[in-house]
């Protein structure tokens, strides 16, 4: 490998990229827009949820609890209800998002330290679910006589209560999968279509120099995108990062390289840029659906799980949630990291092997 030739390719790619204004704008635009869009789902500070309260106890204590809940501003009483059934109907029809049931034996349950208040939640909306859970966690009256355990939350329509903060660590991966594969997928095909490739392959440039030279600039771009998503996540949506930043970037780097080499492999196969794009989207959809970003991995059928194991995003999802949310380090989850590394090496080798400096 000749470093001067490698560098020449990197510089060329960066210059071309800088002049391609649309692509350059996309590098910043995609992560920003995506994050802001998903931001509605991760906004924990939901206020003014439509609610109905069925106070069946009618005691001063129960009225105090209701007043406390309304005072938080998280819920606004929209309807009056008598029974849990009324609440269920209103919930089903979408007239309210939260229903609160205070059973007739409220005082006795309180005294016996049993669940005394039931919050019914429209779980089909994640932000509502989170807001309601937040509601349930707070001490409800001044005397602190009602401990969190005494309010039970029943979530409907979404059996797995996913934390909204899960979205950002995963979203980093989705955005990188979306952009990185596409960038390199068109990288070689574009030069073939424009006629540059026939010239390049009659020069002493080696296959490895060409492939690595095309990947390197995009690693930097991937890290820029990662930074945008993480910064917005932390500054705008207060997503916690419990693990170390270095580990987050390490994991991201692994995903970037895996995606870039996958894109490069597509590029050696595709006959046109359009084909390359179709192949990228063919990979993108299962990545988003099966990686655990949208649906819990554990609930998927075995076949889907097997497919998911082959996708880099699945492994990144586990890694990054581990690092950002559970405070794990890259070393704690070395198996996942190793899989991404092996994936990169295999894809890159295949791409280099498949790329021929001949036209036949």
């Amino acid at each position: 490998m000749n470093l001067r030739r490698l560098w020449a390719i990197v510089i060329k790619e960066l210059r071309q990229l800088r002049r391609d204004r649309v692509t350059a704008a996309m590098i910043v635009g995609i992560p920003t827009i995506q994050l802001l869009m998903f931001g509605f789902a991760i906004n924990l500070d939901v206020r003014g949820l439509k609610a109905a309260i069925a106070d069946q106890a009618h005691t001063s204590a129960s009225r105090a609890v209701v007043q406390d809940m309304l005072a938080t501003g998280v819920i606004v009483q929209k309807e009056s209800a008598q029974t849990p059934d009324d609440l269920m109907q209103a919930l089903k029809r979408g007239r309210i998002s939260v229903g609160i049931v205070i059973p007739p034996d409220f005082e006795r349950r309180l005294a016996e330290n049993r669940e005394a208040v039931q919050v019914l939640v429209d779980g089909s909306d994640i932000s509502v679910q989170n807001a309601a859970r937040q509601l349930a966690q707070m001490p409800l009256n001044g005397q602190n006589s009602l401990r969190p355990a005494q309010i039970s939350v029943v979530s409907f329509y979404n059996p797995e209560r996913r934390s909204a903060v899960n979205v950002v660590p995963g979203l980093v991966g989705v955005i990188l999968t979306m952009t990185m594969i596409l960038f390199t997928a068109v990288a070689i095909v574009r030069e073939r279509e424009r006629g540059n490739l026939e010239l390049l392959i009659t020069t002493p440039v080696s296959r490895t120099e060409l492939m690595v030279g095309k990947v390197l600039p995009y690693i930097v771009i991937g890290l820029v995108q990662t930074t945008i998503v993480l910064l917005l996540g932390v500054l705008v949506f207060q997503v916690p990062t419990r693990g170390h930043w270095i580990d987050v970037y390490g994991a991201t780097m692994l995903l970037i390289m895996a995606n870039l080499s996958l894109g490069l492999l597509i590029s050696t196969r595709a006959q046109s840029q359009f084909q390359a794009m179709q192949m990228s989207f063919f990979l993108l959809l299962p990545s988003i659906l099966l990686s655990g970003f949208m649906f819990p991995f554990a609930g998927m059928p075995k076949t889907a799980q097997w497919i998911a194991e082959v996708l880099p995003l699945t492994h990144f999802m586990r890694l990054n949630r581990g690092i950002m949310l559970r405070g794990a380090s890259l070393m704690d989850m070395w198996q996942e990291a190793l899989i991404l590394l092996v994936f990169t090496i295999v894809m890159m080798s295949l791409a280099i092997m498949r790329f021929s400096k001949r036209l036949d």
Binding site: A8, G195, L199, L200, T203, L359
Partner: protein, 311 residues
């Protein structure tokens, strides 16, 4: 090998059922401008691609600059410059950036790079456009840039695949001047074309037709070999005269040029008395006289023969 840059024997390339290049023998001397003349689809590009190792020949032996092709193609790539039919530099890089890229890729020594690029920009009249995007250059400028890029590492052999197909006559003439400068400095140049005037300028020429090399040699000698076989016919009814002449088996071709007809006859025919008879029999007043054979006649004679042999 010795004085030859390219020696190919029995070079053949098939694409499925199509034989694109059929058993071509080729010898290109060093420091020579060697032309490939042939219509589109005659196998010119395929031959050039095989010579630089881009395509693997189906059969045959190729030796270029003393290297066995395709086995030693990677070594060869350090010593050749290649210009494709289509502009193949980067349209979204500037003139200078393109040359910088090629200098690095071709391994022009770093200390010489700047000077070399300045020299090329001057020589190829691109100095005032060095910051312009290559994609916005005119046809002639693009072609000069492509040639400058192809010679940046001073290759021993230049392979040019229809380099002038997209430029005006003025630019074509300039371009050919450059080629002779390069050949003078010792570069071997293989250039394909479908223009007769360009083919005429070559030191040596090979005529390709449907993948077969039908004639080769020095253009002047090739034309001279046709002496006595070409005629001019002046007549008031050229279309009718053409029809009458074409019925004769000995007439290879009749082309109308203005109000004249240019006639090429087969070898060893008893002309011009015979042709005069034909014209008179058709009731035409015509003046027949011998003409100096040119390259077009060579081309027609060569491709005609190959078609007869095929039939």
């Amino acid at each position: 090998m010795g004085d030859n840059a390219i020696v190919a024997r029995g070079m053949t390339r098939r694409f499925g059922d199509l034989v694109a290049v059929n058993n071509v023998d080729l010898t290109v001397p060093k420091a020579c401008v060697y032309g490939f003349l042939g219509p589109n689809g005659s196998g010119k590009s395929t031959t050039i691609r095989m010579l630089c190792g881009l395509l693997t020949p189906t059969s045959g032996n190729i030796e270029v600059l003393g290297l066995r092709i395709p086995e030693q193609a990677e070594q060869l790539k350090r010593n050749i410059g290649y210009m494709t039919q289509r502009f193949s530099l980067f349209e979204d890089l500037t003139v200078r950036e393109n040359l910088e890229f090629l200098a690095a890729i071709q391994g022009v020594p770093r200390i010489e790079q700047k000077k070399r690029i300045e020299t090329l920009l001057q020589e190829y009249h691109l100095a005032d456009r060095d910051k312009q995007m290559a994609g916005t250059l005119s046809g002639g400028q693009k072609q000069r840039l492509a040639l400058a890029g192809a010679v940046i590492h001073k290759p021993e052999l230049l392979l040019l695949d229809e380099p002038t197909s997209a430029v005006d006559p003025e630019s074509r003439r300039d371009f050919w001047e450059k080629l002779f400068d390069l050949a003078d400095a010792g570069t071997t140049i293989l250039v394909s074309t479908h223009y007769m005037d360009e083919a005429e300028r070559c030191h040596r020429l090979a005529i390709l037709d449907s993948g077969i090399l039908v004639a080769d040699g020095e253009p002047v000698k090739m034309a001279a070999a046709l002496a006595g076989r070409t005629f001019k016919v002046e007549t008031s009814q050229p279309r009718k005269a053409q029809a009458a002449l074409l019925k004769e088996a000995s007439v290879v071709s009749v082309a109308q040029i203005g109000n004249e007809l240019r006639v090429l006859v087969a070898e060893g025919d008893s002309v011009p008395g015979h042709l005069n008879q034909v014209l008179r029999a058709a009731g035409l007043e015509a003046k027949l006289e011998a003409a100096t054979p040119n390259l077009e006649d060579v081309f027609v004679a060569a491709t005609h023969r190959s078609h007869l042999e095929h039939a």
